[in-house]
């Protein structure tokens, strides 16, 4: 900054540290709760981690909360992973292909195709809950990985991002490739996709988080517990009817549910920030 004011600097750091603390606190507390016994959590408020960590995590991963009728968290984590990866890779693949078609070909109905894709922006699951459910039910896709992922893999955002990026790829590269004997698919595979890898990685982070954090959709299309995802499954534990919630186990589950996307976002922070700001342009 332009001038040096020690006092101002102290205030700034104080505000930031306080802010960061408020952000971390709920998670820290969840972690603390996940390392104690039920009795310890329910009686006092321990502020430091206890020694029950392995027991609790082993319990939820292996057995789940039998009283709440939920399957082991291990299975839910696997379901979440499958769903998140299927959504992410599916979105990336079909968006790359469709933006390639829209940018690199002139064909009848091109503009119609673009607007059809664009419209999905205006139709989130939340505004067409029941009829979408009915379509999936009619197709026999309830309680399946296909039902969990395929209806969500249309992506206007990813298509726009790739379209925007493709527009910046110099025309001469395409011409050079043509002279080098590369047809459209070879050009796509050998040149366009490798050139897009930063964008692909950035979108991967955003889409993985989007996929992992789906809640309403799995709630709609899964009734079979073996297809529950962890983010929606946690609610089953928390709302376990009359009994006192088993907070130490719920918090272990919460930590497990938030860990994968948090790890992804922190590991790929730079790409994520760039991608996020790009997507909204």
């Amino acid at each position: 900054m332009v001038e040096r004011r020690p006092l101002l600097l102290v205030v700034q750091h104080a505000v930031l540290i306080l802010g960061a603390a408020v952000f971390v606190f709920p998670i820290y507390l969840a972690f603390v709760a996940s390392t104690h016994t039920a009795r310890e959590v329910n009686s006092g408020l321990p502020l430091l981690p206890g020694d029950q960590m392995w027991t609790n995590y082993a319990t939820v991963l292996g057995d789940g909360l039998s009283t709440a009728g939920a399957p082991p968290i291990g299975l839910m984590l696997m379901n979440s992973t499958i769903m998140a990866l299927a959504i992410t890779l599916g979105k990336l693949a079909i968006s790359l292909l469709s933006s390639f078609a829209i940018v690199y070909f002139r064909f009848p109905f091109r503009v119609l195709a673009f607007w059809t894709i664009f419209i999905t922006l205006m139709l989130p699951v939340e505004v067409r809950i029941l009829p979408t459910y009915e379509v999936v039910a009619q197709l026999g896709m309830l309680n399946s990985y296909a039902g969990l992922s395929i209806p969500l893999i249309a992506s206007a955002t990813a298509t726009f991002l790739f379209r925007q990026f493709f527009m910046t790829v110099p025309d001469e590269l395409t011409e050079a490739a043509r002279i080098d004997g590369a047809g459209p698919l070879k050009f796509f595979r050998d040149i366009l996709v490798p050139l897009s890898r930063t964008n692909i990685a950035a979108l991967f982070v955003i889409l993985f988080i989007y996929g992992w954090n789906q809640y309403l959709w799995p709630l709609l299309v899964t009734t079979d517990e073996s297809y529950y995802t962890v983010v929606m499954g946690i609610q089953r534990m928390a709302n376990a009817g009359e009994e006192t919630p088993q907070w130490h186990l719920i918090m272990s589950t919460a930590i497990l549910a938030l860990l994968p996307p948090v790890v992804v976002i922190l590991a790929m922070q730079r790409l994520f920030v760039r991608g996020l700001v790009e997507v909204e342009k």
Binding site: E172, A177, R178
Partner: protein, 346 residues
């Protein structure tokens, strides 16, 4: 070695009112380096891109080595092209950039490696084969683009302003390298540039283009010495030829004994043809003197007060601003052009 023939080639862009190239014929001999030169928008790049197959041919015929190529994909025309911005694949190493076209043609790996090695050696790129384009300097990138072109051993090289992204010094150096390489390989080449100096130094034959038409074709020195039109005279040569209106040039024409032309034709005289001559026919009041080292460009006005004249003078005894300079010229150095259509008068 292959020749390239263009006969009555036309280009009209869809929706455009006028043809970019209204119909142009040109024969380029085998092994020749033919330079298309002209101001931007004159159609030279369009013409080159039609030969390459990157632009559709509206009418006429293009043949390479006797084979009609109008409807062939670029890759099947047996040509290679060097782009202005090089168009190197940024994610591929130098080796892969050069090998890509060979790979797409299904050449065996061992043969590819050998061809690339030979080309890299010829261009001094051997130690850079594993680098990515962004790790190279501008001049090195240019050489990779050249390498990608020669590795395929094509029937023709097409150059689209390949030097304009280099700084002035490197441009001169690379120009020589390109000429040397082309002569050694003996590959028929079409070279597009807007830089008349580049055109002069490189060309076996110069094609001066203007508004989609050919103004003049010929060896560079011939075009320089006998410009066919006012346009060519003004475009080739630096500083440009002095153009004197029939009135202003009358004295000069009279002094040269060209009485029939005096007062009727436009008189052109190259700055380097003017020399100081006491009592010479041109009286120039000097405004600015640009010293270039061996020579100096003297800018001034004729006594009509409006015709600007540049004289390129050698020597150290130069006039200063405000001086009046008398200049003369060898009659053989005068160029006469028609006042009506700008064509050269003999």
């Amino acid at each position: 070695m292959s020749d390239i023939r263009l006969s009555e080639v036309r280009k009209v862009y869809p929706g455009a009112a006028e043809a970019t190239i209204p119909g142009l014929s040109l024969d380029i001999g085998a092994g020749e380096l033919c330079v298309l030169v002209g101001p931007s928008g004159c159609g030279k790049s369009t013409l080159l891109r039609m030969v390459a197959g990157l632009e559709e041919v509206t009418g006429g015929e293009i043949t390479i080595d006797g084979r009609r190529v109008n409807d062939l994909e670029p890759a099947r025309r047996d040509i290679s092209m060097v782009f202005q911005n090089y168009a190197l694949y940024p994610h591929m190493s130098v080796f892969k950039n050069m090998a890509y076209g060979l790979k797409n043609r299904g050449m065996p790996t061992a043969e590819i490696a050998e061809k690339v090695a030979v080309a890299a050696d010829m261009l001094g790129l051997t130690e850079f084969l594993d680098r990515k384009p962004r790790q190279l300097s501008g001049g090195q990138r240019q050489r990779v683009a050249m390498g990608r072109a020669i590795v395929r051993d094509p029937a023709a090289f097409l150059f689209d302003e390949p030097l304009s992204n280099l700084d002035a010094k490197l441009r001169v150096k690379t120009r020589v390298e390109i000429r040397d390489l082309q002569q050694r390989l003996g590959t028929t080449s079409i070279y597009v540039t807007h830089d008349q100096q580049e055109a002069m130094t490189l060309a076996d034959r110069l094609v001066v283009m203007n508004a989609g038409r050919i103004e003049q074709i010929g060896p560079p020195m011939e075009v320089y010495a006998q410009p066919a039109s006012l346009f060519v005279a003004g475009f080739i040569g630096s500083p440009p030829m002095n153009m004197l209106s029939p009135g202003a040039g009358a004295a000069l024409a009279e002094a040269a004994g060209l009485h029939h032309a005096a007062g009727r034709a436009i008189v052109g005289v190259r700055p380097e043809a003017l020399h100081p001559e006491p009592g010479g026919p041109l009286a120039v009041s000097v405004r600015v003197v640009e010293r270039l080292g061996a020579t100096a460009n003297v800018h001034g006005l004729l006594d009509d007060g409006e015709t600007e004249v540049i004289a390129s003078l050698a020597g150290t005894e130069l006039p200063g601003p405000g001086d009046t300079l008398r200049l003369g010229v060898d009659p053989a150095e005068l160029h006469l052009f028609s006042r009506t259509d700008g064509q050269r008068l003999t």
